[in-house]
Amino acid sequence: MTFRGEARLWIAQRASAAVLALCVAVHLVTIVYAVRSGLTAAEILQRTRGSIAWFAFYSLFVLAVTVHAPIGLRSVLSEWLGWRGRSRDFALLLFAAFLGWTGMRAVLGVFA
């Protein structure tokens, strides 16, 4: 990959990390609130189903994970396993697609 591409990946990873810092904090607070308030699964679904705000929030969360995790894994694969080049990047694209697909499936599961 060109230095420009590498630089863009770095920017994308830093930007997605900033988004994740916010998303993880909100997610954890939501979990603690739901558990401490004794909400049932049905009550949680009642709040999330049809909620554009929760749908947008968790879609953003999934997008940030889809960008962030494969870029980090890219360094791990090259440094620990010596796997570099197009085959690695193609495998990571598939991994990103897998994260995006499973993540959005989960989001739609509580929205739709």
Partner: protein, 238 residues
């Protein structure tokens, strides 16, 4: 100070082995004193480098109990574990023989990182007027005292994992030039230090900063390069 020090010293090339020596303890003894004693009194075939003995030249850097250090400025009292020392050539560099590491790749990477100053003024121009308290000059000054001892390079795990990585010293040098307003190669230099073998490979483990005997912070320099590259890419300059 009585007693002996048990010293394991690397002998041979990459497939060599440690050899043990008993060296008498002395007051204020440095690790370089220990190595010198071995060569002068016990085994004259031991190969090692040193020059100034006062922490100015950086040529006596070695691994001491697994940590890269200037041996001339390292007191045995501070680093010996149970009266024993292990001394090896600098990590991440090929071994020539015994305690002598091959520094060529280390300095070649300075050249690859465009570590040479290229000014934009000619001899007809007046002296550049650089304010010592200007932000770029302060940032360059923070890294300018590097003497190229390769301690940071030996301390860096990223160099061990990615042999193409330019390393902390070369990137620190590039950063001091990027912040030198008299230099005209900034964009070319940013191009040279970006990417998988350059500043973007750094994980900010901070080992270089932790071990630098001059108390410099290559980590900060590399972070600065990442920012400058990001800005140049976003502005479309690169």
């Amino acid at each position: 100070m009585a007693g002996n020090l048990k010293v394991s010293v690397w002998r041979g090339g990459a497939d060599g082995a440690f050899q043990s020596f008993d060296v008498p303890r002395q007051a204020s003894q440095t690790v370089l004193d220990v190595v010198t004693h071995i060569q002068r009194a016990l085994d004259p075939t031991l190969a090692y480098r040193f020059a100034c003995r006062v922490g100015m030249c950086g040529s006596c850097a070695m691994m001491v109990n697994g940590v890269p250090r200037w041996t001339c400025r390292t007191h045995v009292d501070k680093v010996a574990h149970a009266d024993s020392l292990e001394i090896a050539p600098l990590r991440n560099l090929p071994v020539i023989r015994d305690l002598v590491a091959d520094m060529r790749e280390f300095f070649d990477k300075w050249a690859r990182a465009k570590g040479q100053f290229r000014g934009h003024a000619t001899r007809k121009d007046d002296f550049a007027n650089v304010r010592p308290d200007s932000a770029p000059r302060v940032q360059a000054d923070a890294g300018i005292e590097c003497i190229g001892c390769a301690v940071c390079y030996a301390a860096c795990d990223v160099v061990a994992w990615n042999p193409q990585y330019l390393g902390p010293a070369a990137l620190n040098r590039a950063w001091t030039l990027v912040k030198d307003e008299r230099d005209r190669d900034t964009l070319e230099r940013l191009r040279a230090v970006a990417g998988d073998a350059g500043c973007h490979a750094c994980h900010s483990h901070v080992s270089c900063t932790e071990r630098c005997p001059k108390k410099l912070s290559p980590t900060a320099a590399i972070a600065g390069l990442k920012r400058e590259v990001a800005k140049a890419v976003l502005h479309g300059d690169l």
